[in-house]
Structure formats: C-alpha cells, structure tokens
C-alpha cells in the first residue's frame, strides 16, 4: 500500500480537469456525435471489412484464412499489369498532359478585353463541370457518333472518312482526354484566374511605365503569381494517380475498347460487384488504397517543401 498522498487544494489532477472540461462541453460532443457515427459506420467499418483480402469470403459460415493467396494471384496475373499500365497512362494524360491547358485557359481569359465576352465564356465553360458523368457520356456519344455526330460531320466537310471514336482502341484514350478537358477546362482554371485577379494593379502600372508589352507582362508578372497554385494543383493531382477517374471510364467504356481503358477502380468494381469475387476485389482495393495514401503523404511533404503549404 502506498502512503497517503498529500492533498493539494484547488488543483485537480489533469485527467479530472479534462473530464470536467469535457462535461462542460457535452453539448458540443453531442452535436458531433452523428458525424462521428457516420464516419465509424461508413468509413471505418469498410476499412475493417478490407480484411477480406486475407480470407476466402464465404456467404455462410466462417471465412477461411488464406494469407497472401490473393495478392500472389494478383501479381502473377498478366491482367493486373495491363490494368495498372492503363491507369498510369490515363492518369498521365489527364493530370500531366492536360495540366498546362488550365493555366493557358486562365491566361487567355484574362487577356480578353471585352468584359461581356469574358463573362459569356465563363458562364458557358463552368457549366459542364456540374453535369453528371452519365449525361456527359451521353453528350459525347452523340458528339462522336459515326453517322450523325458533329465531329464526324465536321470531318466530312474536309473530306475525311467517318471514325467511330468510341469503339476505336487507338482513339478512346484521347476521347477520355478531350472529354475531361471539355468538362473541367473552365472550372479547374478558376484557381489560376483567381490568382491572376489577386495581382496588385501597381505591378501592371509599373510595367506600363516601363513600356512592357503583354507577353512581357505575362512572363514577368502573371506567371510568377501562378507558381504557387500550379505547384499545389500539380502535387494534388499526383495524389489521384492511382484513381484516374472511375466515373468517366465507367460511363465511357464498352466491350470494344475496355482492354485499353480498364483501370484499377473499374477492375475492383467488376471483380467485386459484378463477379462476386469479393476477396480478390478487396485485395486489389487494399493495394490501391495503400499506394494512394503513400502518394498523398509524399505529395503532402513535397508540397510543404515547395510552397510551405501542405495538402491539408
């Protein structure tokens, strides 16, 4: 037995004070409770369910522990390599190749002198971002239709043969590229346009006094102001590299071209929710999820180093 503790008046131990404080704030915790329950049920519980990747899932009876069987199967199969390659190629096209065009779009928008015309461009170009991928897929199927679509109609004016882009293996990745640009060129350039508008008018005045032309102004005043948002956005994009945009591929794909645009997320969906290979699907999802987290953490560190601002 320990000796009697000396009683210190008016100084409760830390944990008691903490409890006291928490009790005083009980309304706050109560307000947070529904959100907490949501995260536990629909975020944490699914992560716990991923353990299926190490078992053989059975609808009835206990699951059978199989260790790394599914992972071996994944890395031995040629399908996984192809799908990973598709994912990386499509991500590269969407997040690296398309990237400069958002900046160029913002620069061009800024160069338009007529306020009314600029507003018109903004109103039209921001809209596609709000449409669902189902609708966008429908619009693009119509646009690229080999017999009635506008693109083939235009090509016909130049005497070109019609092409069925949606079922053409060589063209479909570019269809994804252009439809992504079509959807997000306006919206995703907002961040750069905002940065351009934030540039102090004094800088422009000083440049005007120095007799700088527009190109010189863009080069020495506007582009430097875009370095920080560009770095942030580029790094954020790297975090999406394992995803490559499920919704777009899911709605644009068809049997003729699926082999070249089948990505990790569509593979996970097909394995789990169409073929019922839950364990295998969870194993792929686990690999994808972990690599995704590593990518985001790396980009977070890189972003902090480059711009002093993290991803969150």
């Amino acid at each position: 037995m320990k000796a009697k503790q000396p009683v210190i008046i008016n100084q409760q131990p830390g944990w008691r004070r903490a409890l006291h404080q928490m009790w005083a704030d009980k309304v706050l915790y109560l307000l947070l409770l529904p959100t907490l329950i949501y995260f536990i049920l629909f975020r944490l519980w699914p992560i716990w369910n991923l353990r299926m990747a190490f078992y053989n899932y059975r609808a009835r009876g206990p699951w059978e522990w199989v260790g790394l069987k599914w992972f071996k199967m994944i890395f031995d199969s040629s399908a996984f390599g192809d799908i990973l390659w598709n994912t990386l190629v499509i991500s590269f096209m969407k997040y690296v190749l398309l990237f400069p065009f958002f900046v160029i779009f913002a620069l061009m928008l800024n160069e338009i002198r007529s306020t009314r015309f600029r507003k018109y461009v903004q109103v039209v170009s921001y809209l596609p971002h709000l449409l669902s991928w189902v609708v966008i897929a429908g619009i693009w199927m119509a646009l690229l239709n080999p017999s009635t679509g506008a693109v083939n109609q235009l090509m016909g004016f130049f005497g070109m043969e019609p092409v069925d882009f949606m079922t053409d293996k060589g063209a479909i990745r570019w269809v994804l590229f252009f439809s992504e640009g079509w959807r997000s060129l306006g919206w995703d350039s907002i961040v750069y346009f905002t940065a351009i508008l934030a540039i102090s008018p004094d800088l422009y005045e000083a440049a005007a006094i120095d007799g700088a032309n527009r190109l010189q102004i863009i080069k020495s005043i506007i582009l430097p102001a875009l370095v920080v948002p560009m770095t942030t956005m580029f790094i954020l994009n790297l975090g999406f590299f394992m995803s490559a945009g499920f919704d777009q591929v899911f709605n644009f794909t068809n049997p003729a071209v699926n082999s070249v645009i089948d990505i990790l997320d569509t593979y996970i969906y097909r394995l789990g929710l169409e073929n019922g290979q839950y364990s295998l699907s969870c194993a792929v999802a686990l690999i994808k999820g972990l690599v995704g987290v590593v990518l985001v953490l790396l980009t977070h560190v890189a972003s902090k180093k480059a711009t002093g601002k993290g991803v969150w």
Binding site: Q21, M22, D25, V27, L28, L31, L32, T35, L36, Y38, F39, L41, F42, L44, W45, P46, W48, N49, L50, M108, I112, R113, S114, T115, F117, Y120, V121, Q122, V124, S125, L127, L130, L131, S132, W133, V134, V135, A137, G138, I139, M141, A142, T148, A150, V151, W182, I190, L197, E205, A208, G211, S243, G272, C282, A285, L286, K288, G289, L297, W312
Partner: protein, 298 residues
C-alpha cells in the same frame, strides 16, 4: 505615355483570342442545343438530323409526352428529388454542426478527431467493403443506403470550418455573456454570418446528390426506387430500351413503334440537366461572383 484606362483598339490578337475561346464555348453549346433540338423534332425526321443542327425540325413534343407518361422515368424523377432534398439536408446538418464543433478553440480532443477525419479521407477502401456494411445494416435495397452512406464529405467539412474560423471570436464571447448556449450560438450567431459558405456548400452537395448514380445502382436493385441518373445510365450508356419503355407498352402502343429512341434519350438527358441549369445562376452568384465581376482589370 500609356494611359491605364484608354480605349482599346480591337487588335488582330484580340480577334484570334476571342475566336479560339468562342469555338471552345461552341463545343459545349452546340451539342446541348443539338440534343434539345432533336428531342423537340418530329420522330419521322429527327433520326436523320446531324450533330451541328440546332433548330428543331417540325416541332413536336412526343418525346416529352412519352417521358411524362413513362412508368419508369416519372417515379425515378420523384426518387431523385427525394434523395437530393433529404440527402442534401442531412449533408448540411452534419457538415454545419461538425464544422462548428471542430472550430471551438477550447474543445478537448480536437486534434485527435481531425487526424481521424483526415485518415478517413485519405484511405479509400472502395465500394466493396462499404457494400457489406450496407448489407449488415440491413439497408440494402433502400434509398437510405445512398442517403446515409454519403452523409459527410470531408473536403466540404474543411471548407465549412474555414468559414466558421473567420467569424470574429468577440461575437461568440458576447453571445456567451448574454447566456447563449452552443446551439443558439451556432444557429443565431455563426450560421447567419456564414450564409455565402452555407449557400455554396448546399449547392455543391445538391449537385452531387442529383448526379449520383453509382451507389444508387449498387444498393437499390429495384428500378421503381432508383433515381433518374440510374435510369438514364441504363438507357443511354447500356442502351437498354425495353426496361425503359416496358415490353408491354412497346407492344401496346402503335405510336411508340415510330419513336426515335436516340431523340428520346436526348429528351431524358435534357430532363436530367434542367435542375442543374436552375441552380446554375446561384452557383455563379455565390461561388464565382468575385471572379465574374466586370472591370477588374485596369
């Protein structure tokens, strides 16, 4: 000397620039007007309409009449409205209360909670493990599976927190002295001051809810409970006509044999776009107002 506000000449570079931008906007406007035109044309001629035609031929509302009397599309519209309204309300209720709590300066355990939220945001387990949660909760087949499984978006939670952080602390202190509790403080001090933020997030959540098709397709098996986007996907992406019209109706109605199904697809897409167009002026007003204000440039 160059004057900052002198009248500009329309130079060649301006014309080229405006032409490029104009062509880009046409790539958005023409396909949508073409869809509208073809959906409003007589089925006898609409099938041969080309993609660049934007004026209806022999104005005809048959496609919209088919939609209005369709046993699949009409209920799906009501399902979409229900999921969007109830879902967005739940989104906002949880996002506002959680953001308020997470921005209280003296809250114990705030950092632990924030780290928890960020981890939950970073690690994406995919839809399969969530499917089993929905199954174990007995929500399979119910619209509530969709409503509840998308109840909070961490990115929007963080945005809402930024808005609450901008409210001056002196206002909260004054309210505390007046004897206001947290609930009154939230709804009569913090929320009214963050109206633009609340409006923006309500719109974004609303758009996400209206456009949602994936979870609805997986969790709600019965087409009679499915939202419009699921029906639209079946019809447009999968090209499934019989589900939409119903085999019985297809045989019963002579007129339906003459329907241009592509034009009908476009009509359904127009119906799916209309609510977005209705909310779009608000998005422009609240989200892009600052960057759309004219005369920013000197």
């Amino acid at each position: 000397m160059k004057q900052p506000k002198r009248k500009y000449k329309i130079s060649l570079s301006q014309i080229v620039l405006m032409l490029i931008m104009f062509l880009f906007t046409l790539s958005i406007v023409i396909p949508m007007l073409n869809m509208l035109a073809r959906s409003l044309s007589d089925p006898k001629v609409s099938g041969s309409m080309m993609g660049l035609e934007i004026i209806p031929k022999d104005l005809n509302f048959i496609n919209y009449q088919v939609i209005a009397s369709n046993p699949v599309i009409v209920p799906s519209l009501f399902n979409s409205i229900f999921i969007t309204v109830v879902g967005t309300a739940l989104n906002m209720l949880l996002t506002i209360t959680a953001a308020y709590v997470m921005t209280r300066p003296k809250l114990l355990g705030k950092r632990v909670l924030m780290v928890f939220f960020i981890i939950m945001m970073l690690f994406d387990p995919g839809l399969v493990p969530e499917y089993f949660v929905v199954k174990d909760l007995g929500l399979m087949g119910s619209q509530w599976a969709v409503i509840l499984s998308m109840a909070v978006n961490v990115y929007y939670l963080v945005i809402m927190m930024r808005y609450f952080e901008a409210v001056p602390t002196s206002l909260f202190e004054a309210a505390t002295i007046d004897g206001a509790g947290h609930i009154r403080m939230l709804f009569s001090v913090a929320a009214p001051l963050c109206k633009p933020g609340i409006a923006t997030l309500t719109m974004f959540y609303g758009v996400i809810r209206w456009n949602e098709y994936l979870r609805s397709g997986v969790y709600i098996s019965s087409l009679s409970k499915s939202p419009l986007q699921v029906v639209l996907r079946k019809f447009v992406v999968d090209g499934d006509v019989t589900t939409l019209i119903g085999t019985q109706n297809l045989l019963n109605y002579n007129e339906l044999a003459q329907i241009d199904y592509t034009a009908l697809q476009y009509a359904v897409m127009i119906v799916a776009i209309i609510p977005i167009l209705l909310i779009y002026p608000l998005v422009l007003k609240y989200y892009t107002k600052d960057i759309m204000a004219g005369g920013v440039k000197e």
